[in-house]
């Protein structure tokens, strides 16, 4: 019995380790499930192994790890969960003939024409319109921006601002903050509150995002929050001590609140394996990505030809049995980005309410 190795290069130590580990967790869960009944590809039986290397969020280390994964471990696919690492890996992945599973929502990851890249999370811009719709009508037209200042949050706000204005709203304050580094958000939050917004646009890692929301409330803010998708509402609620503080918040439905049967089944499975912890969307999407990659290998009949595997990825996602697709990935777009029908969640009366992004789209 041979081994299919799938590589991982991401942060496993340092400040971003938590994130890196969630990603890895999802991948390993998928591998364990696959290994329960060995796969057959091209007449041979295989088991799957995830080879994880730490790159400390450092792009040059990602470059080294990629080489190591391909050459020492013969991995046909490598998953990288941060944009810097993805861009660094794209300098060599085509030459190395390795499939790059890019877990970054930045459209640039697929827009530069790399032929062996698959972008796992969906394009965030699809969330913008429903978020605006959900909050503007109920709370008002004045928004203040107080999101994080890293690349993803910047891209988000750059797309969000014109959309809000196009919908007839007004941006009354624009004040990004360093969510990972700041010792205190009080001054920054009071600065945006001073502009008397109806809606506050926030988001970065879940926990600091929750702090920002909490401090806004402490400073007397009564309006709604638009939460960019990096922050998970369920994780935020743990920090704020329940959903009451987050009343009026709009964001992506966390896995734990997704009531579609496949998602519920996945969440239950995950909780069982992880001492009752809830899975995040990182877990679910990367879990799906590993299943899809193996499925694509089956379709292509090869475990090593990255080009052939890449060609089958779209099909693989489409045909993936629901139990392996808790994040509802519907396929890939022309450039290799995933298409997902997510649920938009809003907090109403201290409870999460969900609505499908495209209500007419059929689930699996």
């Amino acid at each position: 019995q041979d081994t299919i190795k799938i590589g991982y290069s991401g942060p496993l130590s340092g400040g971003a380790a938590l994130y890196g580990k969630s990603v890895l967790n999802g991948m390993q869960m998928a591998a364990a499930e696959i290994n329960a009944a060995p796969v057959e590809i091209g007449g041979k039986r295989y088991k799957v192994e995830i080879v994880a290397l730490d790159d400390k969020y450092n792009p040059s280390e990602t470059g080294i790890n990629l080489q190591r994964l391909v050459q020492q471990h013969q991995t046909a696919a490598v998953l990288v969960p941060h944009s810097g690492g993805v861009f660094a890996a794209q300098a060599t992945n085509e030459k190395l003939k390795v499939l790059l599973l890019a877990y970054t929502s930045l459209p640039a990851a697929t827009e530069r024409g790399n032929k062996l890249t698959v972008r796992i999370p969906p394009d965030f811009t699809t969330y913008i319109a429903p978020f605006i719709k959900a909050s503007m009508s109920k709370y008002g037209k004045n928004v203040a921006l107080a999101q994080a200042d890293h690349d993803y949050a910047k891209a988000w706000s750059a797309a969000f601002k014109p959309a809000w204005e196009a919908a007839g709203g007004k941006v009354v304050a624009d004040n990004p903050m360093s969510y990972n580094k700041a010792a205190d958000f009080y001054s920054g939050v009071s600065r945006v509150i001073q502009a008397k917004p109806d809606v506050l646009f926030i988001g970065g890692a879940s926990e600091p995002t929750a702090l920002v929301a909490k401090q806004a409330r402490e400073l007397g803010f009564k309006g709604a929050f638009i939460v960019l998708d990096q922050a998970k509402l369920d994780e935020m609620a743990k920090i704020t001590g329940g959903y009451n503080t987050l009343e009026g918040a709009v964001g992506v439905m966390p896995m734990s609140g997704d009531d579609r049967p496949d998602a519920v089944a996945f969440t239950t499975r995950y909780r069982k394996l992880n001492e009752g912890k809830d899975p995040s969307s990182e877990v679910a999407l990367n879990y799906t990505a590993v299943h899809a990659t193996i499925a694509a290998m089956k379709l292509a009949g090869t475990v090593s030809d990255a080009i052939a595997i890449r060609a089958q990825m779209d099909q693989a996602f489409r045909k993936l049995p629901g139990q392996y697709n808790p994040a509802s990935v519907e396929g890939l777009d022309a450039k290799g980005g995933s298409i997902v029908n997510a649920i938009v969640a809003s907090v109403e009366n201290g409870k999460l309410k969900g609505q499908l992004l495209r209500s007419n789209a059929a689930g699996q």
Partner: protein
């Protein structure tokens, strides 16, 4: 006006925490004569210790703070015994590298023990006080009051007690201190213990309005460095004054200038001041 007052309160909160961390750092600097990068890790350890005591063992907040103070004092003393004491005659570069070694160890140790997650520490003081339009969560008031009481106690201890004087004496001449009968090892340990206690208390005071995670010490320690350099290395009053200066600069800077560039403010301030006054703001005087 309310907004101005609000920033004053924010500045006091930040400045108070910075002061506590910087004071420990400046005391240890007196003994080691080198910047101890591991001090930020002690701060982090203090938060984790209290978190553990509250969440797992069900201690109340104040007991947990005391427990954390003891735990970090021990940790700090251990670092002195095992690492800095053997290095006492080495050049300062070696201390810096060794302290980075301790930092890496403690941070990854915390991560291995408690995972990389963000944790939240509960506080019994979650009510929000308001004075007119100025709001102040009780915990923030607690920080301000506690920080200033601690600073005052420390200052009295150093100035008025003979044990305090031994710390200052050790800082100025280790051999000289030994020759008048001061037990150099004991004072070194005492100093590290005090620094540890201050760091732990700062962390436990501050953690409830922030998060507990393994790299939480980074920014605080960098700021603390700025503060002790501004205050004149090893000077206690200097550290207090510049702790407040940085606290206010950040709070007002973030509000009136830009949040985006808030973190730069402390550094730019230092660069500007040292360019004009290379010896820092407060020259060391006689005790």
């Amino acid at each position: 006006m309310e907004l101005f007052l609000q920033q004053v309160l924010n500045g006091l909160t930040l400045g108070g925490v910075y002061c506590l961390v910087a004071l420990g750092l400046t005391l240890v600097y007196g003994i080691l004569h080198v910047p101890n990068f591991a001090h930020g890790a002690f701060y982090m350890a203090g938060a984790y210790a209290a978190f553990f005591l509250i969440e797992r063992l069900g201690f109340n907040y104040w007991l947990a703070m005391a427990g954390a103070a003891v735990a970090v004092a021990l940790l700090s003393v251990l670092a002195e015994r095992l690492v800095f004491h053997p290095l006492r005659n080495a050049p300062y570069l070696h201390h810096m590298i060794a302290s980075i070694g301790i930092l890496l160890f403690l941070e990854s140790g915390a991560q291995a023990l408690w995972g990389a997650d963000f944790h939240r520490m509960a506080t019994p003081y979650s009510q929000i006080l308001s004075f007119g339009d100025v709001t102040l969560p009780a915990q923030r008031l607690l920080i301000i009051v506690a920080a200033f009481v601690l600073v005052l106690l420390l200052q009295l201890f150093l100035k008025k007690t003979i044990t305090g004087a031994t710390i200052v004496a050790m800082a100025q001449n280790r051999d000289g201190a030994a020759l008048v009968g001061i037990d150099a090892n004991r004072v070194a340990m005492l100093t590290f213990a005090i620094a540890g206690v201050l760091a732990a208390m700062a962390a436990v005071l501050y953690a409830p309005i922030n998060l507990v995670y393994s790299s939480m010490g980074h920014l605080v320690i960098t700021k603390a460095f700025v503060i002790i350099v501004l205050g004149g290395m090893g000077s206690v009053p200097g550290a207090i004054a510049s702790g407040l200066i940085i606290g206010f600069a950040e709070s007002f800077g973030a509000f009136y200038i830009s949040t985006d560039y808030k973190d730069i403010i402390a550094f730019v301030l230092l660069v500007a001041i040292l360019s004009l006054r290379p010896e820092g703001l407060f020259r060391k005087g006689a005790y």
